[in-house]
Symmetry: C3
Subunit: 491 residues, 3 copies
Amino acid sequence: MPDEMSWPLIRSRGEGGASTHLEASASETGALVIGILGTGDFSRSLARRLVASGYQVVVGSRNPHRSVALFPEEAEVTSQMEAASQADLVFVAVFPEHHSTLLELKPSLAGKTLVDVSNGLRINKEGPSNAEQLADLFPESFIVKGFNTISAWTLQVGPRDGSKQVYLCSDNQKAKSLVMQVCRRMGFIPVDMGQLSSSVEIENLTLHLFPSWHIPILCTVSLFFFFYLYNFTRDILLPYITAKKSAFYKMPIKTVNVTLPSVALVMLALVYVPGLCAAFLQLWRGTKYKRFPSWLDGWLTRRKQFGLCSFLCAVLHAVYSLCLPMRKSARFTLLNKAFKQVKDGVQDSWVDEDVWRMELYLSVGIMALGLLSLLAVTSLPSVANSVNWREFSFIQSTLGYCALSMATLHTVFFGWDRAFDPAQYHFYLPPTFLLVLILPLLVLLGRLALFVPCVAQRLRQIRRGWEESRHIRFTLPDDDRRNGLEDVSNV
Amino acid sequence: MPDEMSWPLIRSRGEGGASTHLEASASETGALVIGILGTGDFSRSLARRLVASGYQVVVGSRNPHRSVALFPEEAEVTSQMEAASQADLVFVAVFPEHHSTLLELKPSLAGKTLVDVSNGLRINKEGPSNAEQLADLFPESFIVKGFNTISAWTLQVGPRDGSKQVYLCSDNQKAKSLVMQVCRRMGFIPVDMGQLSSSVEIENLTLHLFPSWHIPILCTVSLFFFFYLYNFTRDILLPYITAKKSAFYKMPIKTVNVTLPSVALVMLALVYVPGLCAAFLQLWRGTKYKRFPSWLDGWLTRRKQFGLCSFLCAVLHAVYSLCLPMRKSARFTLLNKAFKQVKDGVQDSWVDEDVWRMELYLSVGIMALGLLSLLAVTSLPSVANSVNWREFSFIQSTLGYCALSMATLHTVFFGWDRAFDPAQYHFYLPPTFLLVLILPLLVLLGRLALFVPCVAQRLRQIRRGWEESRHIRFTLPDDDRRNGLEDVSNV
Amino acid sequence: MPDEMSWPLIRSRGEGGASTHLEASASETGALVIGILGTGDFSRSLARRLVASGYQVVVGSRNPHRSVALFPEEAEVTSQMEAASQADLVFVAVFPEHHSTLLELKPSLAGKTLVDVSNGLRINKEGPSNAEQLADLFPESFIVKGFNTISAWTLQVGPRDGSKQVYLCSDNQKAKSLVMQVCRRMGFIPVDMGQLSSSVEIENLTLHLFPSWHIPILCTVSLFFFFYLYNFTRDILLPYITAKKSAFYKMPIKTVNVTLPSVALVMLALVYVPGLCAAFLQLWRGTKYKRFPSWLDGWLTRRKQFGLCSFLCAVLHAVYSLCLPMRKSARFTLLNKAFKQVKDGVQDSWVDEDVWRMELYLSVGIMALGLLSLLAVTSLPSVANSVNWREFSFIQSTLGYCALSMATLHTVFFGWDRAFDPAQYHFYLPPTFLLVLILPLLVLLGRLALFVPCVAQRLRQIRRGWEESRHIRFTLPDDDRRNGLEDVSNV
């Protein structure tokens, strides 16, 4: 639906016809009066949506005359007391700190269902939620928590692809069912979260700021600082201190361009470490029935975030590398080299080994980037939803290890024979690529170890429920290939 | 579901079992006979889908013997009169201009529900819709408008991720409920659009061609023409006219590469202008209860389109820039410079300032591009749906302003000290980057102004309902942080 | 919902309240006891989900004491016999080879609904499915096949955007309705696949590995090998054999960079060939009612895959091209050229034609890449779902042909006048770009042929049902613009 066609004008509400035994008969829609207390953007969008879904809407405002212009004509705008009396189901769309101002409506609202759509200001760890406080204020009403994760914009344009979930919870099953029915009619998908005590989590849902990304981003930034300082010290600072050679111009681009691939490769290896740890842990323990340590569980759930951070660094590294020939510093260097070559009378300065080294590590690097792009694209929610788990596992596991191998090979070719050249060990500090290669090579060796037939066989047995202590084969559920630890199974 | 597995063979329809009181009991599904008038691709796909959903389907064709091969075996293909008699619900899948040929079926269709699935040929601004005309032809049937936005392909492969919305409207509530039930059983999500008078808008839905993109694209193209002509005049035309210097080779790439970033930066600034306008308007008026002018409303809803146009120009600018060293013109220039350097006997042509200028503006430019990419990725529908509004606001608002600052800094570094060099003012025309910097700097200044404590405090008060004229704090709905104008609140 | 908040703690299940006549009343939810046989990851996630959706869950395990720690507290973990007795609906979450171990439960399970969630190990072409074998083991129970495409991870975090489809089939309509109701309550979308005989296809669904991609990828790889060998022979092998000129350093990057664009352009042309074939076939036959040959049908459904393979090759070609100036080989070549220019005393080596050729083909190439990126982005599922078919057709058909024209023009500019230069025909082999241009030019000519007024008119008539043999205009369904062959109609 086009963006600016928010919600078309509905001429008049459908009249209630004869009752049918089909779900949500016309008479029930016609009979159910929905009230909204509050007149802000959310109320407005909610009113428009309810009216478009065929409900009779009455809005309670402290200043009906001023607010009536803002609401669709089918909705009746009246005083809060009037709205509370008429309505069967009431959306309480006011700030939580103003819930107490509604106390005068308590008699009118007794026995009715109130939906608390408020959000909190900060993440609530203890203490009652807004919904629980509302329940304390209105003990004779049935409080349902919900709709707080839906923005007025989404109410207005409709769920983008009919897939916006609405989290509901309530102590009263009947009230919850009623709100779920209204929710479905509006085009949303209600998700039952249980009792009203779940309202704390529902209210916290909107306050999280990428919680699963905190650790991966922290890792990335720490690795970046470490490698940048290492390269800076080795390539710029120590030469300056010892030989007064000023190479500070390298700081914005060249040094960053040695740091980014280091971070990318280490982060990519960190994506596959938890899978290997889990496999070896199961082999060590001889069983799959003991739970993983919580740090390993947490790491396993964040593998996608580690991978995407690695991909971002890899792409930036590619862009920085492509910028290298464009720089004035590269041009001056080239012109000076040409001058020197003419002065030395060297007709052909071609060095075969240098040429081959660069051709090889460039081509392998591009292949690695291509594979990482495939992984990144399949991480998009819509693409991930359209592939089955065998396909997803193939991409993330098989192609993922190919990408890791390619990236490692790219670094090995870049290093070429410099690991064996003492001159590269400036100030006894090894070249950066050697530090970077440690973890990926360990990961690849670990994965190869799991290919060894007896090891693979034992792991397969354990995954099918064999336990070292008991030597009894259990009747196991069909889970190995369909659960989220599939990646672990495949490592 | 794999693409080529359109719809698997259904051996035989489920027989109607005992009635249950659960939704859509077997007997009702078994008892409801659905008819389709018409035999094109849409009818075929619809028949397959209805059969797979467990309905009894009868297809009415003018030439049953020829059409029967095209339809699934479970569907009965017969004459139109026969189909109209047997069916309880009839899909009228014929061209609107042929609706009148069905008049002979009027007696058989009396009292039944007809679903008009036709589309119009052009956007209908006045005049009756196809559905309304069909209703005039069949006054004793109940017309439901729907399914015209669903393609035969979607019917065939199933809603891609169960999220395809079907827009329905009808004057008769019972008929509409029946069609909604059928719709759900087929796996779609029905959206109630009200009375049959909404059918005009439903029919127009499929004829829009990116309506919210018209203005942003027009802006982009206009800015592109303006800056291209400015640069062409300044760098190519005037030097040719005055000094006969032919630099026309610059037209395809170099001049485009000065134009694209100008367009990108101005468009990016235009993303944040409406938010600032809205904030200052609220501060000026002292209230948030007056509606914005419609041009501002329209601009606020198109911010995403402005941003994506800016991103496209920024990416193309990056690609063009990366192409610069590859060109033969760059190589000839470099070779000629080398020749000149040798002839002048200059051993080292290094200029520190030139080097630093380029290192700085390149690195800041890459950072700006990285941030803009993050913004573009979170604009994808599936990604936008998976983040909550706090996260979305953080990306689009906070990171967005960072991207704008980076891009402005990139342009400032590029300019370096050329603004103060009279030689840069060719023919009294200032360098392009000066023109470009005006709007972004204004935007950034305006945003900084909103950070000033008293201004920020006042705006927060106004957003919470404080009104200058009344000095009364109203009970306000909990809306500030959850509505689509959240970006406006955060500017 | 944040990833690590898998499923919040549900304090206690909602008690069953008074029955309502709304769908799925509280009493029914409260009365329905769901059993799970099996204790793996899938069972665990299923138990958590069912508990969160308000059901009473009892898990049957061979070793209840050991398993109870793994399950949520609200679920009762007991012996398999006990669970089978208590439950009304039983999820059989055990390996298919262990189904027979449940035979002792047959009496307890008689008359109840069993859901088989197992997957097969390999694609099943004949022979009974797991569900059919289970039905043979438990003839007095009602077997429903379903949930095998849902991973434990999806059960745990909830359907990502409420859109995960669950494929169900059963011989018993009432059992199927019950499972569909449970499915909806859990937040999934049930898709009715018919009778239990469809279970073979449902079980095969999870075993496909990108079935629609096999042919396009095979095409891409074959074309790559062909063009690579052609270029290798022409540019490296034959010069080495005849003139001992060693250019093997070109193999990793330069030769690949001539191969990739060839593959990309041919694959892009292959996207539009089937549409033209279909149009000309309809013109030839004079009717649209004969079915296309199956190879054409298959090709038409794989056009998106061909396009995406082409896009991948085009992007890689762009990256390889941008890498060219960075290589040591390019630098050595440039330095040697500078040396030569100085030795020859040439002050200005500028060649206008070379410069213009490169400026033109580079700029046109970048435009083609930009257009292809737009096509690729609109192929993403979420973006494709948000545009209507007129917009989708505009992008894929109109912009698609623009992209093909741009890419062809890029190749023509690259070729410049080399087609007429005998020196380019090394060893009587024409330059690669000539081979590549054949198919795209044919496609563009074919498309232009369809613009000729009389041809376009005839095609339009045929699409509206005119048949050459009959000269009768039929009443046709409204399908031309809304079906999946729309692209064919527009070619």
